[in-house]
């Protein structure tokens, strides 16, 4: 491949548009005759609406309509319970979006929403997850289709017989995705056809859901998602905003713009479930693990089942002959949890990688050495070979880069002035998957090429990466290639989620470009004015992949300092080293990785949804009160990768790196805080008041 675009750093193609404000997001397209929708949240937790009085809202100047279950257009009930909106009087959680006000201005819509009178019959509710919740049950499977429980060997006997045992329970709170751009849609109906500009992570799925909900052919729905301001999983499937906007636009027969408020992102769009996780590790005195058990509890809603795969991480991470994992769920009167960056792996790794650190301390072994000693040769869960496994390489390279070697392992052994200093490490893994996708490639008479695929760039740099991949597959300079993504009229493609976007899409792009080259090789004469187009789908190839353990790996290192008087924790330094297959664009790859690590700092130290059980919702539902790590909290952060060639993935050899950065980060920080202070915090976030038992406040 003479062009060699893959592997070269390149700024985002749409960067200038984004920084100059000309890139259009979902509710920014200029439109004549547009109206504004404002969603109304339920003020009851559990019960049903007995009466809605829209009149005071309709009396607000500019208000055109109030949609609710009594008058909204009908939807198909068979698509997804979450999307069956404004159809029934049932209220499943506080904040459920139960009405929409449509008005000539956004201000009038907002004011109207305040005046919709809703009466409820309420029932007692349960919104707090506890380890002994009476409603705990065993789901039939966990996301996205894993067995609920696994068991191999005899854990109980092996654990009882182990020389060294760790038995600890870890808790994580509700975390809220909070992309910068909220879930937002502009919807228009024209002659029975629906056009939406929508903020999502995969408009092929949005198109399909809308078509089914409204009972119209898929071809009658077009979803454009040219630029998306983040999602972190919460836009991985159609959500309320797009359905409400489409309903409202049909009702008023005019275009409707509807964006959820920041407060409405705390609930209706999903969130990372709180977890309660018991981890048990039994080893010999040298740290060789004989028994691993991970029991995870999380919550779901009464609307639909969402079973976070919290303990799945533990099934494949470290070797041990006797192993068991379980998942239990409580169905609470809460919004349905949903995907948030590395669902399952992220909270699960916090628990397991913390427990590994506890085991290292108990055995008196360096935590890196402990992980090396428990490195499996095949996937301990399925027995499949690894397509490549470079956890140890990441640990070794990271240790050198970080300066781990001269670490005094004793807790509280480093103090500089008022600061207690500590360092910590954690491993990470995340599955390397791909989904079937389709693409077309066109050779144009002017010597240019057009590549089309309905990929979504949620800020990751996907557009740029595919452009580089296409150039290499066509063996032309990238300047001759135009890439089109973000429109459901393009060939259908998988979601920008599960760290499988680039793997899935680059596969289809490569095949389309390769076939085009073949066709051009046999083509003689000039090209027709519309060019020469070939289409490719990877459905058969993806299905034919042989069973194998395919994972990205990583090692995160953190140095923290803890104020000895106040307990304030600051992360002075982070180094992450990752094995993610081939890196297409080092600029955007690094950004993804340090973005994941930063979100991990946020998870470890700052974020927490505070639920008030009397009201049944989170009281800190804005960015002033729900703290997300800011720039001042990220002092030095570095992400690197090891060279990794893996022929068992996809033509480009990528593993995906959107999620691996966050996976072990919180554990690395918790481990560093333990090293600094001697205090092991087993419930995130690590707030200053949780360190009050160490030397702080002495």
């Amino acid at each position: 491949m003479s062009a060699g675009a893959v592997g070269r750093a390149h700024p985002r193609l749409e960067g200038p548009e984004k920084v100059t404000g000309t890139a259009r997001y979902a509710v920014e397209y200029p439109l004549d005759d547009v109206t504004y929708g404002w969603a109304v949240p339920a003020a009851a937790v559990r019960g049903r609406i007995t009466r809605i009085d829209p009149e005071p809202a309709l009396a607000v100047p500019g208000v055109l309509a109030v949609l609710h279950h009594g008058n909204a257009p009908r939807l198909s009930p068979d698509v997804e319970a979450e999307l069956y909106l404004l159809q029934e009087p049932a209220v499943h959680y506080r904040g459920q979006l139960v009405a929409v006000v449509v008005a000539e201005s956004i201000e009038a819509a907002r004011e109207g929403a305040r005046h919709v009178r809703i009466e409820y019959d309420t029932e007692p509710h349960s919104t707090v997850l506890t380890a002994d919740h009476p409603g705990l049950y065993r789901p039939e499977k966990v996301n996205p289709g894993y067995p609920t429980d696994t068991s191999e060997g005899d854990f109980d006997a092996a654990f009882a017989a182990a020389e060294v045992r760790v038995d600890a329970t870890y808790r994580t709170p509700a975390y809220h995705n909070n992309p910068m751009e909220p879930h937002a849609t502009t919807a228009q109906w024209r002659d029975g056809r629906l056009l939406v500009h929508d903020s999502n992570q995969g408009s092929t799925a949005v198109q399909a859901a809308l078509a089914e909900l409204f009972g119209i052919p898929r071809e009658s729905v077009r979803v454009i998602s040219e630029h998306v301001g983040g999602g972190f999983g919460s836009k991985g499937y159609p959500k309320a905003a797009v359905v409400l906007a489409a309903l409202a636009a049909r009702q008023v027969d005019r275009p409707v713009r509807l964006a959820l408020t920041r407060q409405q992102l705390f609930g209706p769009i999903g969130y990372r479930t709180p977890t309660i996780q018991r981890v048990r590790l039994g080893s010999d005195a040298d740290g060789r693990i004989a028994a691993i058990c991970h029991d995870a509890i999380s919550q779901t809603s009464t609307i639909t089942e969402f079973a976070e795969q919290t303990a799945v991480y533990t099934r494949s991470m470290y070797a041990a002959p006797h192993r068991r994992t379980t998942h239990r769920l409580a169905r609470l009167d809460v919004p349905t949890p949903f995907w948030m960056r590395a669902p399952g792996e992220c909270p699960g790794a916090y628990a397991l990688e913390s427990a590994m650190d506890e085991l290292a301390s108990a055995c008196g072994i360096d935590p890196i050495e402990l992980r090396v000693r428990n490195e499996p040769t095949v996937d301990p869960d399925q027995g499949h070979p690894f397509s490549s496994r470079n956890l140890v390489a990441c640990l070794v390279k990271g240790a050198r880069r970080f300066g781990w070697g001269d670490r005094d392992p004793r807790p509280g052994s480093r103090r500089e002035g008022r600061w207690l200093i500590g360092t910590g490490v954690a491993g990470s893994s995340y599955p390397a998957r791909a989904r079937a996708s389709a693409a077309t490639a066109t050779a144009l008479p002017d010597g240019g090429y057009l590549v089309r695929i309905n990929a979504t760039d949620i800020g990751t740099g996907a557009r740029t990466a595919l452009w580089q991949v296409a150039a290499d597959a066509l063996d032309v300079p990238p300047e001759r290639v135009t890439i089109r993504i973000g429109d459901s009229d393009l060939p259908p493609a998988g979601v920008a989620g599960g760290s499988m976007g680039t793997a899935s899409w680059s596969w289809a792009v490569t095949r389309a470009c390769q076939e085009l080259r073949d066709r051009l090789g046999h083509h003689s004469g000039s090209l027709p004015p519309e060019g020469l187009t070939v289409a490719a789908s990877t459905a058969d190839e993806v299905r034919a992949q042989r069973p194998m353990a395919r994972y990205a790996y990583g090692a995160q290192f953190a140095e923290v300092r803890v104020d000895a008087d106040t307990g304030e924790v600051r992360v002075s330094r982070m180094v992450g080293v990752f094995a993610v297959g081939r890196v297409v664009n080092p600029t955007t790859a690094r950004s993804q990785l340090i973005g994941g690590m930063t979100m991990g700092i946020s998870m470890a130290l700052h974020e927490e949804g505070l639920l008030d059980e009397r009201y049944g919702d989170w009281v800190n539902h804005d960015l002033a009160t729900y703290h997300i790590t800011g720039c001042a909290d990220v002092e030095q952060i570095e992400a690197e990768w090891v060279d990794e060639e893996d022929a068992d993935l996809n033509p480009t050899g990528v593993k995906g790196l959107g999620e691996i950065g966050i996976v072990g980060t919180a554990a690395a920080i918790a481990n560093a805080v333990r090293h600094a202070t001697g205090v092991r915090v087993r419930d995130l976030p690590i707030r200053l008041d949780k360190l009050a038992g160490s030397s702080p406040f002495a």
Binding site: E111, R114, H627, D633, L688
Partner: protein, 329 residues
């Protein structure tokens, strides 16, 4: 949001008259708090009287020492002023510890002092709050109250005053100049804010329509050695979970004068007079500083989630005073 009218008067009398004529009017300065609250439906004025074009800018040295700070001086301008940095470092540090650069560029001196509590329940019209809706109850009293008061709260309200600037001004014995419909008067800073009592909806002692026109900071040579320590959950752009403003004047190792004020502990910026009394005229030691804090905090009544604030405030009192003492040694 509610439709509102907007006026931008150019003299103080006109502004005060506009407010006086309309019981639902509100002054608008930087807008960094009021506009948020309007969007949330917490405040619903029908008229905004924009005071930023009034002749209330400027920072002037006073003839006998001290500074007069105009009400509309932006927080960033005040923090950067050379005399503030030299004579009142506690003030500059409090300002710079607050909010973000963008907010400080907008927020004004007077607006900062009159900002509303950030209690979760106050800011959510779906929840009970006596401050927002008198008589509706205090959801925070038995709710999520980690950030809220340990001193001087009432069953009706456990909110804290969120300002950092106000804590420094309380320590400095500032005076607030106020224009009212029937004239002007001076209000000692420590008398500006109220305890919540049975009427948490009344946050200051100012009558309706009063307009703060300036803040005078008296001369206090000892304030050249002053400190502001703010403890927060992230490194920037977070309200304090505990803060202390301190001025310490030593004669040898004897405490000649001391000023202490606490933030994030009460409904108003908390001047720690009791602690000052313990310290004044005695030989300074870190132990004495701890005893002084204990004396002040003896009246503390922590809520369910904020018991940690008592030892925290004690710890930062000791640190702030000890560091000031060491700098004078």
């Amino acid at each position: 949001m509610r439709e509102f009218r907007y006026r931008r008067p150019t003299d103080v009398d006109e502004a005060v008259a506009l407010l006086g004529a309309d019981p639902e009017a509100a002054y608008l300065a930087g807008g960094t708090n009021l506009v948020d609250l309007m969007k949330l439906g917490v405040q619903r004025p029908d008229l905004l009287v924009d005071v930023t074009r009034l002749p209330l800018g400027g920072i002037e040295p006073l003839p006998g020492g001290g500074l007069r700070v105009g009400a509309t001086v932006r927080n960033s301008e005040l923090a950067a002023h050379p005399l503030v940095r030299r004579d009142y470092p506690v003030l500059a540090r409090a300002l710079l510890a607050a909010a973000s650069g963008q907010v400080r560029n907008m927020a004004t001196t007077a607006g900062n002092l009159l900002q509303r509590t950030r209690c979760f329940y106050f800011q959510d019209t779906g929840k009970a709050c006596n401050k927002r809706d008198p008589g509706s109850g205090c959801a925070a009293r038995h709710g999520q109250n980690r950030e809220l008061a340990i001193l001087d709260w009432s069953e009706e309200c456990v909110a804290t005053h969120p300002s950092d600037l106000a804590v420094a001004l309380a320590a400095l014995d500032a005076v607030v100049e106020v224009a009212e419909p029937d004239g002007t008067r001076d209000v000692p800073f420590v008398e500006l804010h109220r305890s919540p009592g049975e009427h948490p909806e009344r946050e200051t002692t100012l009558p309706r329509g009063a307009l703060i026109t300036a803040v005078r900071i008296p001369p206090l040579p000892a304030a050249r050695r002053s400190a502001y320590l703010k403890v927060r959950d992230r490194a920037s752009f977070a309200f304090a979970v505990g803060a202390v403003a301190a001025v310490l004047d030593l004669d040898g190792d004897m405490v000649r004068d001391v000023r202490l004020a606490y933030g994030a502990v009460a409904h108003r910026p908390w001047r720690a007079f009791r602690a000052e009394t313990e310290l004044r005229g005695r030989q300074f030691t870190p132990e004495l500083a701890g005893q002084a804090a204990d004396a002040e905090l003896a009246a503390a009544r922590p809520l369910r989630h904020n018991g940690f604030k008592v030892p925290l405030i004690r710890a930062i009192t000791v640190r702030a005073l000890t560091e000031l003492a060491e700098a004078q040694a």
